[in-house]
Amino acid sequence: MGKASILSPLKAIRFLFQKPLTLRYPFEKKEPAPRYRGFHLNDWDRCTGCGNCADICPNEAITMIEVPAIEPEPGNKNERPQLDYGRCCFCGLCVDICPPGSLRLSRDYFHIHFDTDTFVFVPKDEKKDEATFLPAEEYSILKASLTHRKRDYEGFSPDLDFALFEPQRVPMPQVSAQERKQSFVEMVRGYSAEQARSEASRCLECGLCEEACPANLRISDYVKAISEDDSEEALRIILEDNPLPAICGRICMKHCEDACSLGLRGEPVAIRWLKRYAADTVESYRETLRAELPAETGKKVAVIGAGAGGLAVAYFLRLKGHGVTVFESQPAGGGMLRMGPPRYRLPDDAVKDDVDYIASFGVQFRFNTAVGKNVQFDELRERYDAVFMAVGTHRSYTARIENEDRALMALDFLNAARVGPAPDVGRHVIVIGGGNVAMDVARTCLRLQQMQYPGQESVTRAVCLESWEEMPASQEEIEEAKEEGIQFNPAWGPKGILLEQGEVSGLECKAVKSVFDEQGRFSPTFYEDRTMVLEGDMVIEAIGQGYDLSFIPDHLMESLAFTERRKVKVNEDGMTSVPGVFAGGDIVNLNMDAVTAIADAKKAAEGIHKMLSEH
């Protein structure tokens, strides 16, 4: 301190002769850092309109606005974020929460305008808005604004490692391929309470799934209930729209998960397994939830078919106080669910739990009663106030090949394996088909082989017209079948079943040129000269199913309208062109799955209720 001198500052005089440190803007410019948090960029093609950015914004600067130019589809709302730069604080939380990673910040930060409305802006990026995002030679700093910006000028961008959501799903404990193919043990073990809570807490509650679900389940709400350890509340929410939680929790085609915004850069929330968790955790739905029935209305409805659609419509109608009788040709409820999916995917108990729950509301079941045989359709129309038919599709299609009578039909085989005494299988089985039913057949067959030929060499081959990419079976099924040892022969079409001394000896196949025509319709073409022979002692066809409406008398059949795709045509109330006759399920919709049947049933139940209330 003693050094303090009045003369020492003179040392600074030398700076008079040096270059100034400050920049002479705008002639000298400094580029913002690569991570700069400036105005937003949004890739409209990747953006799903999920609205998580608007939800996390601490300043409510983001509003989701409807964009009529965008066609909404499952997993993509026709909404895009709009920014109010009078409120935005450029924190970038919106970037870190954006599941598809479409929202980014740029390095632009200039906007000067007399009109405050111009500060409200719907961000796009150079792909969608060439007029705003200009190449360097057209850009001028003097004109810089929200609508005059630089191309390829990305700043703060999404990084999955630092995202505010968890992209990875909680792994589902599964029985190994080696172990599971020895028996029909259920391969998916189900989440523990901790796993379910943890998986459920990944959900961002954007609701894309709810719009994609045919039955519009309140998915965000029940997943939230599970995340709060309240599976009873979750089940209560599920049962509002879906009376088959244990079944759908296992074999649902999960349109919801396909739409989940987390699936775009990570794995979707395991919505299906969470539904299963809720159903499996609650011991007895009816007792736990203490569901009450309303007063009887005295109206009666006949339901044909005790599959997903029939069960669901019975449930929804009972909850409105109508009397319901279900006619089913089989000895138990479940329809295709009871016959189709093998036990390793859908154990008997799960089907029983759901069917018992619906029966507990006083639904009358007439099993072993085929309409058209044991009881006539016209009789039902007379005796009941309304008829709902959901008979499903259980007539297997055939490929019309040589010696076809020697092939087994998929549904007969699955039904036998599931319900009756297990059928005998060959040691070298060939399954024709590349859909989910074919996978069920092949994997069932593989298990029966393991049980019937222990320790001996056996093989199940699948042959289908489609290539790997075109195969209609779900990716999950294909992967699991491969793990278990199914041998695939994609892009081969069946030509004829070969016989040797009256016994099946193999399948002759021809190479496929194309499966679909230019319009994308199914119309396979082949290289007739390129053939191969798959050796085998058993052939099972699993190439699709159709419905059988022969129980409907001719005078009604004439007035029953069909769609272009040969489905029964129904109106917005689920009613067919025959008054008082409603329909749903596989005979109506193209998805041909349980949840869509439930959606049809929900619609028809509302329609029937409306009709019955009017009279």
Binding site: S5, S8, P9, A33, R35, D96, I97, D159, F162
Partner: protein, 377 residues
């Protein structure tokens, strides 16, 4: 400038009441002092905050845990990082979140860079107020170099929103370490010039010596912390007393002075600035590789178990504390900041101005290193 608001009728008729601020060149921000003066002596000073009440603590009760991050940093514009740090630490304590080791080093480096930028800003404020324009301009320029580093690391120059629960928001960009070293070396190279023009300048010595002098006992009794306390000879620094981040991983010194006046306080700031630069070099050398972030729960479903936490860190102005209460919800139940400017700007300032000359009011105030937003939070 000070206005004559009232000519006191009592006594000798020589007492005046003056309003100093909120619009006054010597004022630290939207803050005011009511002075009772006789001649150019201050008889009594009454601090008058509240011009800037932004209700942050209340607002935070209405925002989710993560939504509060863009807000806490705004409580102290000059040094937002320590605000983020205490909030992150409190949330981590309540929610039981671990922080990876590398992130602890990055946090310390950030906080020291923030101290450097804040001290440079303080140096600008003080030297500018006394009329030393040249070093003031340099300090502003050098602060900008540190802000460039922050811009590169966090995407923001002033509000970084970078230290958050579970670690930090992004890792170092490529080559960032070298740029920190380069920037700090170039600032360090200017220390002789700062010394020559300001710290060893006789005019500064004469102007600051004995101004706003506090004894160590007074400082302790009135709740002084940071450079104000250390300028009275007390070696007290939360980074040593209760180490957080990576402050216990490297060796460093706590600079102190004995006199407790404005002159000592500004010298402590100078020494700390140099010590921080050295500390950053040591932290960079010791910094391990690895993860920098443990993912926090889904912000839309994040509930923190009920409980309360008090955490503190050493901001450039002194002890910064945060009392955070959760009632198990998705938002804080109560947030309260213990900011160093609160005692410095209210009780200590009033004490230090007793008997001071009017010309030393701004001098005293800025040497106490007050940031008005920290008082009105």
């Amino acid at each position: 400038m000070a206005q004559i608001s009232e000519i006191a009728g009592s006594g000798s008729g020589r007492e005046l009441e003056l309003y100093f601020g909120p619009q006054h060149l010597g004022m630290v921000g939207n803050f005011s002092i009511t002075l009772k003066v006789e001649g150019d002596r201050v008889l009594k000073a009454t601090a008058n905050p509240g011009y800037l009440h932004r209700g942050f603590e209340k607002l935070m009760e209405y925002r989710t845990w993560i939504q509060n991050f863009p807000m806490v940093c705004r409580i102290n514009v000059v040094e937002p990082d320590s605000m983020e740090m205490v909030y992150a630490m409190a949330v981590e304590k309540l929610a039981g979140i671990e922080v990876p080791e590398r992130a602890q080093y990055i946090r310390s480096i950030c906080l020291e860079l923030a101290r450097v930028s804040s001290h440079l800003f303080g140096l600008w404020a003080y030297s500018n107020m006394l009329g030393f324009d040249t070093p003031a301009q340099w300090a502003m320029y050098h602060r900008d170099l540190v802000l460039d580093l922050f811009e590169e690391l966090t995407g923001g120059r002033v509000y970084h929103i970078y230290l958050w629960p579970g670690g930090v928001r992004r890792d170092f960009p490529k080559g960032f370490r070298d740029r920190i070293v380069h920037t700090l070396h170039s600032i360090g190279g200017w220390v002789p010039d700062y010394d020559a023009t300001f710290f060893n300048n006789r005019l500064f010595y004469e102007r600051a010596r004995g101004v706003g002098q506090l004894s160590q006992e007074q400082a302790k009794a009135l709740g002084a912390t940071g450079p104000v306390l250390r300028a009275t000879g007390m070696k007290f620094d939360i980074r040593k007393v209760e180490p957080y981040a990576a402050y216990d991983k490297v060796d460093w010194e706590v600079p102190t002075r004995q006199e407790g006046d404005a002159y000592s306080r500004i010298w402590v700031v100078r020494d700390e600035l140099i010590e921080s630069v050295h500390m950053v070099f040591k932290l960079l050398d010791a910094m391990p590789d690895g993860e920098v972030y443990n993912r926090i729960p889904n912000p839309f479903k994040w509930r923190i178990p009920p409980g309360e936490a008090y955490v503190r860190c050493e901001s450039s102005r002194g002890e910064l504390g945060l009392y955070l209460v959760s009632n198990g919800g998705d938002k804080p139940y109560r947030v309260h900041f213990r900011t160093p400017s609160y005692p410095h700007g209210l009780t200590i300032l009033e004490k230090a101005l007793e008997g001071a000359s009017i010309a030393d009011v701004g001098n005293t105030m800025i040497s106490l290193y007050v940031v008005a937003p920290e008082i009105d939070r």
